[in-house]
Amino acid sequence: MTVNDTKTPGTDPAPRGQGQSTTRLGDRVFSNLSKGSGIALLVIMAAIAVFLAIRAVVAIRANEGNFLTTFAWDANGDPPHFGIAVLLFGTVVSSVIAMVIAVPVAVGIALFLSHYAPRRLATPIGYLVDLLAAVPSIIYGLWGALYLVPRLTGTYDWLDDVLGWTGVFAYDGSPARSLMTVGILLAVMILPIITSVTREVFQQTPKAHQEAALALGATRWEVIRVTVLPFGRSGVISASMLGLGRALGETMAVATVLSPSFLINASVLESGGGTFAQNIASQFKEAGSMGRDALIASGLVLFLLTLLVNGAARLIIARRKEYSGANA
């Protein structure tokens, strides 16, 4: 296209009014190229769904067990026998634990950065939070497995003493390679992303509204309660869902920390269970052809799950933009 270009712009002095209709070759090539790239992205998204679905159908057809309810993963067996019940349970439970821990703390840090921290501190700390989002997950995994796990047994013992009677927090003293530990680690990992999105929304709270509250004699917390939190609510929700999406699909930190099993343990403090991503990473090397298809089938479920969560988060953000745009 460079060749075409050298001919055209130099020689003709651009009939400006008709510039749009007499599209030059260079323009056409370039605009189609960029449009093609955009379409390529859509095609990739579609291809991911299609190719995963193709393998998943193969696996689910051959499956002797029920794909949704079977508590086992014997995909290499003859006949193959596997189901995602335990994985779904473990994925959801560990992510929910992560959210319960991370969201309030992230909102706290976001408020700290937007309304509490001295200005000189806020910028470098915000910067630090962004850097921490960049730490590779395998390093969180390594830290979780070698540092965090041995240090949680004491706390779990104590939780067992206080809340053991519920069954959910029963603890047998074994190494803390449980869904709870995974949840805690995931919480640490998704904290930066939730914080940075939430902080941005909080900082956008119109000054006019905050000053209105101040002029009524509101304390700092009351200003936040009356103006910042209502304004940022949808932002917090979508940030949390972005974090949830990360937690659902996290592989390495779970694979290193969790001691998996294909049973559902009522206690979140004791080892056992599994997540989609962890199961794929741990089973992959031993998987035969059917085993791989089965793992891909479970991957498809994970894909749809994260698609749903992320899509919802983005829709909330988009709706919020329209809403605040109309109001501004």
């Binding site: 509204h209 209105a212 002029a215 009524l216 304390t219 009356v226 109001n327």
Partner: protein, 259 residues
């Protein structure tokens, strides 16, 4: 209710920049005082020092004294939150809380300050203040609707109702009509005239006709040059200022020779 304000030697800064310098004046109780002057002369900044809103701006700081009936607002141990509860403020752009209904906007300050526990009591206060702001008849059928759905002028009157609901001693208004059309402006001016029996009112305005119409006393601010701090040139009865000011610069400004 209405209280007197005595300012002496007041200087305000934004970081290292001196916005206004050495202002001394009295604001009479139960009257309307207008601040006029060219853009950047610090009249809004000065207004915001009167209820300690200036220090909310990063880097904002104040020297000097502001006495509210002989109590120094900047004295040791004075709580800025209490000051703002005593001296209400209405802003340039109407800013009702967007997530609240009309009713809740008026009730917001009362709730924050722990007044009117019973529903009937609150209903009464809301109605009284909306009537006081000449807004009741227009909104009484849609109290539960969001305040942001009102017109600009109605929103501004809602903000006035919100400010009066906590029964302040002084009402500061920072160019309350500059974002409004002439009809709404007139409605606000009527309202100011009515409110001055109960409150000490200070209004910053760009519009000299407005100052002449609504105020009892007028203060003229000016600055020597861009980047220089704003100063109080003179303050006098409005009639005096507009008919026979004692400083040449005031006359030049009023007659439209600059600003």
């Amino acid at each position: 209710m209405a209280k007197r304000i005595d300012v002496s030697g007041l200087t305000a800064y934004y970081g290292a920049h001196k916005a206004i310098e050495d202002i001394t004046m009295h604001v009479e109780p139960g009257a309307v005082t207008a601040f006029i002057g060219p853009s950047g002369c610090g009249k809004s900044t000065f207004l915001r020092t009167l209820n300690r809103m200036h220090e909310v701006t990063p880097g904002g700081r104040v020297e000097g004294r502001v006495l509210l009936d002989n109590e120094d607002l900047y004295g040791p141990g004075v709580d800025p939150v209490s000051v703002r509860r005593t001296i209400g403020m209405v802003f340039q752009r109407p800013n009702p809380f967007p997530t609240m209904s009309i009713y809740d906007n008026v009730a917001a300050g009362i709730r924050l300050n722990g007044g009117a526990r019973r529903k009937s009591e609150m209903d009464e206060l809301v109605e009284r203040n909306l009537r006081g702001a000449n807004l009741w008849n227009e909104v009484k059928d849609r109290l539960a609707r969001p305040g942001s759905g009102l017109s600009g002028g109605q929103q501004q009157r809602l903000c006035i109702a919100r400010a009066t609901a906590v029964a302040p001693d002084v009402l500061l208004m920072d160019e309350p009509c500059s974002a409004l059309d002439p009809v709404s402006t007139l409605a606000i001016e009527d309202l100011i005239d009515k409110l001055k029996s109960e409150y000490t009112i200070v209004i910053v305005t760009h519009n000299m006709q407005q100052a002449a119409r609504v105020s009892d006393r007028t203060a003229f601010f000016n600055l020597a040059a861009i980047g220089q701090p704003g100063k109080l040139i003179e303050i006098d009865d409005t009639q005096q200022i507009f008919s026979n000011p004692s400083v040449q610069a005031t006359e030049d400004y009023i007659s439209g020779r600059f600003g």
